[in-house]
C-alpha cells in the first residue's frame, strides 16, 4: 500500500511527461491508479467487515519515532474508499473539464499528489506521518486554489487558506507531540487503547486545544470557516474533490480518529457540539445569502462539516452511526453537485445563479442529476441524505449536553439547507430561459459519468440502506464503539425527527419563496460581517505586519550607533549581571606603579582622549600615533621587545595609510547634540568600567598555572630558538601566524579590489583592468 502511495507521488511528478505522450488521455489513464486502489480496498472488505484491522509496517526514522506504517480499519477504509473512488471520477471528469487548458499537466500533478497525500493521511498509523500528509494536503490545496495564479484574487484566497490551515497544522503538530508524550506512543493504533491515560495526563488540556485547532481550521469550523468559500477560486473539479469530498474532511477524519482517545472528556463533548452546531447554522445562513453557485455550495459544505463535528461531539453510538451515514451521503451528493456546477459553469460561462434559468431544456441529464443530488442535499427521501438527516435529528434529540442550544441550531440549518438545495435546482434549470455568456450545451459523457455514478449510489443506498449497515458498523467500531451492529432504514415510522423534517420542509419552502427578500435583508447585515472571523483574519494579518514593521523600524533602523549601543547594552547587561550578581565580592590587587611608568600610562590616556577631542582629523591621527608609541614604550618597560617593535612599526604604517587616505575626506563636524554625547559617554564609561572590573577581578582572583611554563622550558631545547616569542610564533603556534598572515594578505587583496573596482567610474575600472593585466 505504501508503495502504491509513493508510486502515486512519482506518477504525479511524471504527469507532465505522460501528458506529452498521451495528451488528452492522460487524465483517464491516471484515474486507473485510484481505480485499482478502489479494487484493492474492496478486496480487503471481508477483513474490514469482520472487524479486523490491517497493519502495514514500514520504518522511516525509527529513532525519531517516525514510521510510514499504514493502518487500515473501518474508518480508514471508508475514507480511503471515498478518496480513491471520487478521485478516479474527478480525474476522468477533469480530463474533459480542462481539455483545452495548457496547464492541465500541472493540474494533474497537483491533484494526484493531493490524492496520495490524502490517502496517506487517512491510512497513517504514525502521528508524525499523519501530520506530514496533513501538511501536504494543505500545500497541494494552496497550489490548487491558486491554480489561476495570474489572478490576484486566486493568489489571495490561496494564501488565506494556507495561512489558516497551515497555522492550524502547526498547532496540530504541537498537539500531536504532546499526545505522543501523554500517551507514550506515536502509533494511533496503540494510542486508541490509552484514552484514559491521555486524559489523565497533565498535558491533556493543551493538547486537546492544539489538536482541535488543527482539526477546526482544516475542516472550516467556525470561526475558521471563511477560507473555504474563498477557496472556490480553484477549478471546479478541485472544489468538488478537495473542498467538499476529501480535504476538508481531513479534520473530521482526525476528530473521528482521535475520538477513542480524547472523545470521552467533557471539554471534547462541549466544544465539538457547540462549534459543530454553530458552524452548521452559520454555514447554512451564509449559504442562503449567496448567488454564486460554487460559493453557495461551499457554505453548504461548511454546514455539513459542522454537522459532522456536532455528531462526533455528541459521541453517542447513534450519533456516530449518524456521522458515518452523513459523511457518506455528503460525499456523494456534494461531489455530484460540484461536478454539476462545473458542467454548468463550462456550459454557460457563468456561475451566478441569478444569471441562469430554464436550462433543463438544453441540459436534461444534468438537470436530472442535479435534481437528485439536491434531493439528497435537502434530506428528502428516498435518497441517502434523508437517512443522514433523520439520523442527525435523532442523535441531536438524544444528546446529553447542550440539547437546548444545538437543537434549534440544527433545525435552522436543516431548513436553510433545504432552501439552498431547492434554489440549486430551481434557479438554473427551471423558470424562464435566460441569456448566458455561452450558449449552453449538455455536458460530455466523461463529465457526466461522475455525477451520475455518485447520484446513482445516493439513490441506491437511500433505497437499500442495509447495504450500508456493515460499513457503518465497521466504521463505528473504528471509532471505538464495540457494541452491536447498526440498523438503517428509510422509514422509521412517525417519529420526532420526521416531524422536524416536515417542519423544516415547510419553512424551507417559505424561504425559497422569499429568497430575494431574504438576500436583501441579509445584505443589510453586511457591515456586521466585516466584524466577523474573516475581518478578524484580515485584522490579524494587518496587525502583525504592522507590528513587524514597527519592530523592524525600531531595531533595524539604519543607525549604526543604535546598533552599537544595543550590542553594548547587551554586553553590559549579561556580563555585568554575571559579574555582580553571580560573583559577589571583587578582590582588587594593590597597585604598585613607578613614576615613569605612570607617566607613560597617563600619556596613553592623554593620546586617546586627545584623539577623541580633536576637531581636526589629522590631529587625531597624530594623537593616536603618540598613543601607539606610548603603548610601544609600555611594551618595552614590561619586557616585550618584539611587541614594542611590532607596535611601533604598525603604528607608523597606520599613520602613513591614514595620511594617504584622509586628505580628501571632509573635516570633522560636531553632529550630535549634547544630550546624545552625554548618553554615549554614559554607555562608553559603563563599558570601560566593566572592562576594568573584569581585569581587576582576574588579576586579583585565583589564577591557575600557565601552559607557557612548558614553552619557556622547552623553547630552546626543542624549538631551537632563543627568542621564546618567536619560537611560539613560528613553531608552537605557527598555525596562528599562518592565519594572521592570511588575514593581512586578504586585507590587502580587499583593499586592492576596493580601490581598483569602481563602478561609479568606468574609466578607472578599465584602466585598473588594463593595469593589472600588465606587469603588475
Amino acid at each position: 500500500m505504501q508503495q502504491a502511495v509513493l508510486a502515486g507521488f512519482v506518477m504525479a511528478g511524471l504527469a507532465p511527461l505522460l501528458h506529452r505522450w498521451l495528451g488528452a488521455r492522460t487524465a483517464p489513464m491516471m484515474a486507473l491508479l485510484p481505480a485499482s486502489l478502489v479494487l484493492w480496498l474492496l478486496w480487503q472488505w471481508p477483513l474490514i467487515a469482520a472487524g479486523e484491522t490491517l497493519l502495514l509496517a514500514w520504518p522511516w526514522v525509527p529513532a525519531l519515532g517516525v514510521s510510514l506504517t499504514f493502518f487500515l480499519d473501518g474508518l480508514a477504509w471508508l475514507f480511503a474508499l471515498l478518496i480513491c473512488a471520487i478521485g478516479a471520477l474527478v480525474l476522468v471528469y477533469s480530463g474533459d473539464y480542462l481539455r483545452d487548458d495548457p496547464d492541465q499537466p500541472r493540474f494533474l500533478v497537483l491533484i494526484v499528489a493531493f490524492m496520495m497525500a490524502m490517502l496517506g493521511l487517512v491510512l497513517a498509523d504514525n502521528l508524525v506521518t499523519l501530520f506530514i500528509f496533513w501538511e501536504l494536503t494543505s500545500l497541494t490545496s494552496y497550489l490548487l486554489i491558486g491554480f489561476h495564479h495570474e489572478d490576484p484574487a486566486a493568489r489571495k484566497a490561496a494564501l488565506q487558506s494556507l495561512m489558516v490551515t497551515a497555522g492550524g497544522g502547526l498547532a496540530l503538530l504541537a498537539g500531536l507531540v504532546m499526545l505522543a508524550q501523554a500517551g507514550g506512543s506515536w502509533s494511533l493504533a496503540e494510542l486508541a487503547g490509552r484514552g484514559e491515560a491521555v486524559q489523565a495526563h497533565a498535558l491533556h488540556g493543551p493538547l486537546l486545544v492544539c489538536v482541535l485547532l488543527g482539526a477546526f481550521t482544516k475542516s472550516a469550523q467556525f470561526p475558521f470557516h471563511f477560507w473555504l468559500p474563498n477557496a472556490m477560486a480553484a477549478p471546479t473539479p478541485v472544489s468538488a474533490y478537495l473542498h467538499s469530498a476529501t480535504m476538508v474532511k481531513a479534520g473530521i477524519y482526525l476528530l473521528a480518529r482521535l475520538h477513542p482517545v480524547l472523545g470521552s472528556s467533557d471539554a471534547w463533548v462541549v466544544t465539538l457540539s457547540l462549534v459543530g452546531a454553530l458552524t452548521m447554522a452559520l454555514g447554512a445562513c451564509l449559504a442562503i445569502r449567496q448567488t454564486h453557485l460554487k460559493i453557495l455550495l461551499a457554505y453548504s459544505t461548511v454546514m455539513a462539516l459542522g454537522a459532522m463535528t456536532l455528531l462526533l461531539g455528541i459521541g453517542s453510538r447513534a450519533a456516530l452511526a449518524a456521522f458515518v451515514v452523513f459523511l457518506v451521503a455528503h460525499a456523494l451528493y456534494k461531489g455530484a453537485m460540484f461536478l454539476v456546477a462545473g458542467i454548468l459553469d463550462q456550459a454557460t460561462g457563468t456561475r451566478d445563479l441569478t444569471g441562469m434559468g430554464g436550462l433543463r431544456h438544453r441540459m436534461p441529464w444534468t438537470a436530472l442529476v442535479a435534481g437528485l443530488a439536491a434531493l439528497s442535499l435537502a434530506g428528502l427521501p428516498p435518497l441517502l441524505g434523508f437517512i443522514g438527516k433523520e439520523a442527525l435529528f435523532a442523535a441531536v434529540l438524544e444528546a446529553d449536553r447542550l440539547r437546548g442550544v444545538i437543537l434549534p441550531l440544527a433545525f435552522l440549518a436543516a431548513l436553510l439547507t433545504l432552501a439552498v438545495a431547492a434554489l440549486m435546482v430551481l434557479r438554473p434549470f427551471f423558470g424562464a430561459v435566460r441569456e448566458t455568456p455561452r450558449p449552453p450545451r449538455e455536458g460530455s459523457p466523461a463529465m457526466l459519468a461522475g455525477p451520475v455514478l455518485l447520484v446513482g449510489l445516493s439513490l441506491w443506498l437511500g433505497l437499500a440502506p442495509h447495504g450500508l449497515e456493515a460499513l457503518v458498523t465497521a466504521t463505528v467500531q473504528g471509532l471505538g464503539v464495540r457494541e452491536a451492529a447498526v440498523h438503517l432504514t428509510l422509514w422509521h415510522g412517525i417519529t420526532l425527527p420526521l416531524g422536524l423534517s416536515l417542519a423544516s420542509l415547510l419553512l424551507g419552502a417559505l424561504v425559497v419563496r422569499h429568497w430575494e427578500g431574504v438576500r436583501v435583508w441579509s445584505a443589510r447585515l453586511e457591515p456586521l460581517m466585516a466584524l466577523g472571523p474573516e475581518g478578524g483574519y484580515a485584522a490579524v494579518m494587518r496587525g502583525w505586519l504592522r507590528l513587524a514593521e514597527a519592530q523592524t523600524r525600531w531595531l533595524q533602523n539604519g543607525h549604526l550607533r543604535s546598533y552599537l549601543v544595543m550590542t553594548l547594552l547587551v554586553l553590559l547587561g549579561l556580563v555585568g549581571h554575571a559579574l555582580f550578581v553571580r560573583h559577589g565580592t571583587l578582590a582588587a590587587p594593590v597597585p604598585s606603579a613607578r613614576g615613569h611608568e605612570a607617566v607613560v600610562a597617563a600619556l596613553m590616556v592623554a593620546g586617546a582622549v586627545t584623539a577623541c577631542l580633536m576637531r581636526s582629523r589629522l590631529a587625531a591621527v597624530a594623537a593616536l600615533g603618540a598613543m601607539g608609541f606610548s603603548i610601544a614604550l609600555i611594551f618595552v618597560l614590561f619586557s616585550a621587545p618584539d611587541l614594542a617593535i611590532t607596535q611601533l612599526l604598525v603604528e607608523t604604517l597606520t599613520v602613513v595609510l591614514l595620511a594617504l587616505v584622509l586628505f580628501r575626506l571632509p573635516r570633522f563636524a560636531i553632529l550630535s547634540t549634547p544630550l546624545q554625547r552625554l548618553r554615549d559617554l554614559g554607555v562608553a564609561s559603563l563599558v570601560g568600567g566593566l572592562i576594568s572590573l573584569l581585569m581587576l577581578s582576574v588579576l586579583g582572583g585565583e589564577q591557575l598555572p600557565r601552559i607557557s611554563a612548558y614553552m619557556i622550558a622547552n623553547g630552546l631545547p626543542m624549538g631551537h630558538g632563543h627568542n621564546l616569542v618567536n619560537v611560539i610564533l613560528v613553531d608552537f603556534r605557527a598555525l596562528d601566524t599562518l592565519g594572521e598572515v592570511i588575514v593581512l594578505g586578504l586585507a590587502a587583496t580587499g583593499v586592492f579590489a576596493m580601490l581598483g573596482l569602481r563602478p561609479e567610474d568606468p574609466a578607472s575600472r578599465r584602466e585598473a583592468r588594463a593595469g593589472e593585466g600588465g606587469h603588475g
Binding site: 617593535i645 595609510l657 580628501r664 618567536n726 586592492f752 581598483g756
Partner: protein, 144 residues
C-alpha cells in the same frame, strides 16, 4: 600636482632603502633568537619600499621590485603553507619543525625559518599592495 619627492628625499631614500632592506633581512634571520622575525622584518622592508615609492614614484618601485606585490602575497602564503608539509614526509603532524644543518659552514635551515620567510614576503606584498593601490587613487585624482 606635486612631484613625487624632493631631491633630498630622493637621495635619502636611495641610501636608506638598501639599509632598511638589509636591516629587515637581519631582523628576519635572527628573529628566532632575538627580537625580530618575519613579520617585523616584513614591515621594515615594506616601510623601506614605501619610502622608495614616495620618493621615486610607482614606476621606479616597479622597476626595483620586478615582481608585483600581489605575487608576493601569494608566494609568501604559498611558502608558508608549503613549509608545513615536509613534516609529512617524516610522518609527523602538520607544522612539525624540521631542522637541517648544512655540513661545513654550519648553516641551519629549518621549516620555521622557511615559514618565516613566507611571512616576510607576504607581509611585504600585502603592505605594498595596499599602499600602491592607495597611491594609484592619487593618480586617479590627477586624471579627474
Amino acid at each position: 600636482m606635486v612631484k613625487s619627492g624632493t631631491l633630498i628625499l630622493e637621495v635619502a631614500a636611495r641610501l636608506l632603502v638598501p639599509l632598511q632592506l638589509l636591516f629587515s633581512l637581519f631582523l628576519l634571520q635572527r628573529g628566532h633568537d632575538e627580537p625580530g622575525g618575519g613579520f617585523i622584518a616584513g614591515l621594515v622592508a615594506a616601510g623601506g619600499l614605501a619610502l622608495f615609492l614616495f620618493a621615486h614614484g610607482r614606476q621606479a618601485l616597479r622597476a626595483l621590485l620586478k615582481v608585483s606585490p600581489r605575487d608576493l602575497i601569494g608566494l609568501g602564503l604559498l611558502i608558508g603553507v608549503l613549509s608545513t608539509l615536509p613534516a609529512w614526509w617524516w610522518g609527523e603532524p602538520l607544522f612539525t619543525a624540521q631542522w637541517w644543518r648544512i655540513p661545513g659552514i654550519g648553516l641551519e635551515i629549518s621549516t620555521p625559518l622557511i615559514f618565516d620567510i613566507g611571512v616576510y614576503l607576504a607581509v611585504i606584498g600585502s603592505v605594498l599592495t595596499a599602499i600602491i593601490a592607495l597611491v594609484e587613487t592619487d593618480r586617479d585624482d590627477v586624471i579627474r
